[in-house]
């Protein structure tokens, strides 16, 4: 390359604009891609992009090596060896699409559509088309990795307010970062927190660990034991109610179930809170006083840290109840309604995405997998709780899934994932679409090569009323195609009665944004996200005033939706249950699997050499005290034993971890912590796995 990769006519290097989709559409930061001779030679963050303002995280900066990862699949593949063995032969697109279309059609005849499941892992950009595809096909068994991510919090809000919510971080007086370490995840929030501090905003961080966020930004840092967030929230509520630091007028007018809730909270004294969470009673009082003195406060929405516990959804409700009783929902500086514009993101305007999916929903089809086991999930989501898929397949009965069509499936995202791998063996037919020949793809009969965001064009929305339609910055590698193009090829070949799906992605987007005063052509011509004309800021309080989307039209501390179904066996109040431990003597440690590290997201960056080099070996973080007591030094082999099995990691003793807790990152194929987590330990409300409060034993090996 030219010296220094300086863009310009002289070097022949051009900067083209794209988005990073290594992580969720909740980010999708703007990418400046340096391209020379049709190859990406470098990436940077796009300076004026509303999402990332020129920056990229540790993961996003690895986009070039991610794009050119050595195991990128370049042609459709057909399995030759045993499932999981990894022996494949290349086949043509025609043959692949023919085979899949025939199999999907014949399976529907033979077994019924409900025995075909559609699963989406990462990325997520195609999901609206994929869900409609499943609906057209006639199966409710559309499920995603959101069975373990984000949805638990969303469901908690659905019960409470009927809407997704967002923080008014720019205006609040107190920000509660509950399980938030934005230095390692959602990095743009650090700037917002720093700006808030400059104007006098206080920050309360609740995190069992010491992190750069707790050390640099927190005015107060509470360290509850893993999975005890609900008890902490209830104890704070106790102090708020006891001191009458609540908004009685707001409660009378907008809140349902306060008396029942207040009665329940009465037992959660600060002393009881200390006993349950390990947070000193005095700090619980201090946190309540901070909330009272601040007037307005908001709590960060959480995708995983709060949801990944047996009582995760209820813990989330208990936390959000603090906003309800102090009058901070739909109030300036509090939590504001954030109805999703597109891709589960609030951008300030409406699209027809929801309608696009729902108009093909197969209401009369048999209920989705997990509907019986997780009735609240089904009631609120109407699709498959994918954490029940393993049991469904292994049951081998007349409702078991026989055919699985997946986009970007990662079986290592599931608890006790070896059972899912075993279940793959029971399938009649399994298709996986992915960038890489992943461990999951190795179980598939047909593997199709997808392409990255840099090799395709796509519609994007961002908060603040922004929209964009990207163009590919390089040609797709090999014969790879975009996920949506693959769905369209199949829809056509199967002669689906769906003009939009058969017409393709762009036609679907045109349908979705038909009400906007802007066209695909205009969006595509833009160099980056542009403001959609006529988007006005949300009028705070308006949704509350006209009645929220719950059975009572009020913010429900006592959920009438749950109360209406005593057969579910779920509590209408945000009740607390401690993390489950069958035998505290045998398993004296709490294990948090999946705690964020800066250089990885699930499995997909473990095989990107630059990213892996920052932390080459899977480690277990543990307290200095425990390490000393057990005779463990830095780098020693440490055996982690759960009720399912044992694995040995390298020790990383650290002062940032509390005694009695250990932390391990997930997704390593050689040391896959999820493989020894109990697959039955699922939150009965959400179906989420208890990844972050499993019990285990720890010893030097």
């Amino acid at each position: 390359y030219s010296k220094g990769k300086i863009p310009g006519a002289e070097s022949g290097i051009e900067i083209r604009h794209s988005v990073c989709d290594i992580c969720t559409p909740g980010m999708h930061c703007g990418l400046d891609v340096y391209v020379k001779d049709g190859k990406v030679i470098k990436v940077e963050g796009t300076p004026d992009h509303p999402q990332n303002k020129g920056k990229l995280c540790t993961k996003g900066l690895g986009n070039r090596q991610y794009l050119y990862r050595e195991d990128r699949i370049l042609t459709p593949l057909r399995r030759m060896g045993e499932r999981g063995e990894g022996k494949f032969e290349p086949i043509s697109w025609d043959e692949a699409i023919d085979t899949i279309a025939e199999k999907l059609l014949s399976a529907r005849e033979e077994y019924g559509a409900h025995r075909v499941a559609f699963y989406s892992g990462y990325s997520k950009w195609y999901r609206f088309m994929f869900r409609r595809f499943a609906g057209d096909y006639g199966s409710q068994n559309y499920g995603t990795e959101s069975s373990s991510c984000f949805t638990s919090g969303l469901m908690a809000w659905q019960l409470t307010s009927g809407y997704a919510m967002r923080t008014d971080l720019g205006k609040t007086n107190l920000f509660i970062g509950w399980g938030a370490n934005s230095y390692f995840s959602r990095y743009p929030m650090i700037g917002s927190m720093e700006n808030g501090k400059k104007r006098g905003m206080k920050i309360l961080i609740i995190d069992p660990r010491i992190t750069p966020t707790t050390r640099r930004l927190a005015d107060l840092h509470l360290r509850p034991h893993l999975g005890t967030d609900g008890a902490l929230a209830l104890a704070i509520a106790h102090v708020l109610i006891e001191n009458d630091w609540i908004d009685r007028a707001y409660i009378d007018r907008y809140v349902h179930g306060f008396e029942e809730y207040a009665a329940y909270v009465r037992e959660f004294t600060p002393e009881k809170g200390e006993e349950l969470t390990g947070v000193p009673a005095e700090q619980i009082r201090q946190a309540a006083a901070m909330i009272h003195e601040a007037g307005s406060f908001c709590i960060n929405e959480s995708s995983a840290p709060i949801g990944h516990h047996l009582n995760g959804l209820q813990n989330y409700r208990a936390m959000m109840a603090l906003l309800v009783i102090t009058g901070n929902v739909d109030r300036a500086g509090g939590q504001l309604p954030g109805p999703h514009t597109y891709m589960e993101r609030y951008c300030g305007f409406e699209t027809r995405e929801e309608h696009f999916m729902e108009e093909r929903y197969p209401h009369d089809a048999p209920k989705a997998v997990g509907a019986g086991r997780f009735p609240l999930w089904y009631d609120l989501r109407h699709d498959m709780q994918a954490n029940d898929l393993t049991d469904n397949i292994l049951r081998q009965d007349e409702n078991s899934v026989k055919v699985l069509f997946a986009l970007g499936m990662n079986y290592r995202m599931f608890p006790q994932d070896g059972r899912l791998a075993e279940a793959f063996g029971k399938l009649d037919f399994f298709v996986d679409v992915d960038l890489f020949l992943t461990d999951t793809a190795k179980y598939a009969d047909i593997v199709l090569p997808a392409c990255t965001s840099m090799e395709r064009g796509e519609f994007k929305c961002y908060p603040g009323g922004y929209a964009w339609y990207t163009n590919p910055v390089v040609e797709p590698l090999g014969e790879s195609k975009s996920d949506c193009e693959i769905l369209t090829l199949l829809a056509r070949r199967m002669k689906m009665d769906d003009e939009l799906l058969c017409a393709g992605y762009e036609a679907c987007i045109k349908y979705i944004i038909q009400d906007l005063p802007i066209t695909v052509e205009e969006l595509r011509a833009a160099e980056g996200p542009i403001k959609v004309p006529g988007v006005t800021p949300y009028e705070v309080g308006s949704i509350l005033e006209r009645g929220v989307n719950t059975p009572t039209g009020k913010l429900e501390l006592y959920s009438e939706r749950i109360a209406a179904h005593p057969e579910w066996g779920l509590d209408a109040l945000p009740t607390y249950r401690p993390p489950y431990n069958p035998d505290p003597e045998q398993y004296p440690f709490l294990l948090c699997a999946g705690t964020r590290i800066p250089n990885a997201l699930h499995s997909r960056l473990h095989d990107v050499p630059w990213e892996r080099s920052l932390l080459p070996d899977p480690v277990v973080e543990m307290s200095m005290e425990d390490a000393e007591r057990l005779g463990i030094e830095l780098g020693d082999p440490v055996e982690i034993t759960t009720s399912v099995g044992s694995l040995t990691f390298q020790a990383l003793p650290t002062a940032t971890v509390q005694p009695g807790e250990v932390y391990i990152y997930h997704g390593y194929r050689e040391l896959d912590i999820n493989s020894i987590l109990d697959g039955a330990a699922l939150d009965p409300y959400s179906g989420f796995p208890a990844y972050r409060s499993a019990c285990c034993n720890v010893r030097r090996k």
Partner: protein, 169 residues
């Protein structure tokens, strides 16, 4: 204009974004055994419980020991930018620079020749920031004028390294 690459230690979290940006800029192929030019690490002091995060590469020392040690004229101080640069054409692979460097900056490629951070000299000359500075989300890595010290000494990696280099003389 003379420059230095400063790290405000109080803003660094060792996320490694700078290290990845550096590898992308410099086409680091780790499979050849070459070490990245920039490294991040977390340091905990057991006695005090203090935690510090660092991002380190060549410190571009004023009186660079590597330049003094280099017998072949490969390493030199650039009069214009003040950076410690090198011309591998002259490198004889003797590792004298590595022995002299207090910070472990020099690394060696499969060709046996030294390489290290050159401050993204070509980018600087084109009016662009070094890749690491450009990538730092938290304002920890900064490109600052050589004769200015915007970061207080207790948070300045340059100041601490200067002290360390002096103490080793």
């Amino acid at each position: 204009m003379a420059w230095k690459i400063e790290l405000d230690i109080s803003r660094c979290c060792a996320c490694g974004a700078c290290a990845i940006a550096c590898m992308d800029q410099n086409d680091i192929d780790l499979s050849t055994g070459v070490r990245p030019y920039r490294t991040v690490f977390r340091e905990e002091t057991r006695r005090t419980g203090e935690i510090r995060y660092y991002s380190m590469a060549c410190m571009h020392c004023d009186n660079a020991p590597c330049v003094t040690a280099c017998p072949s004229g490969c390493l030199y101080k650039d009069p214009e930018t003040g950076l410690t640069l090198y011309n591998t054409q002259y490198c004889i692979g003797c590792h004298s620079c590595a022995m002299a460097c207090p910070f472990g900056a020099p690394t060696f490629g499969p060709d046996g020749k030294m390489r290290k951070c050159d401050g993204c000299i070509d980018r600087l000359r084109a009016g662009l920031e070094p890749a690491c500075v450009r990538s730092c989300t938290f304002g920890a890595l900064q490109l600052v004028k050589a004769d200015e010290d915007p970061v207080p000494p207790e948070h300045s990696l340059v100041a601490q390294c200067r002290e360390l280099a002096e103490s080793q003389k």
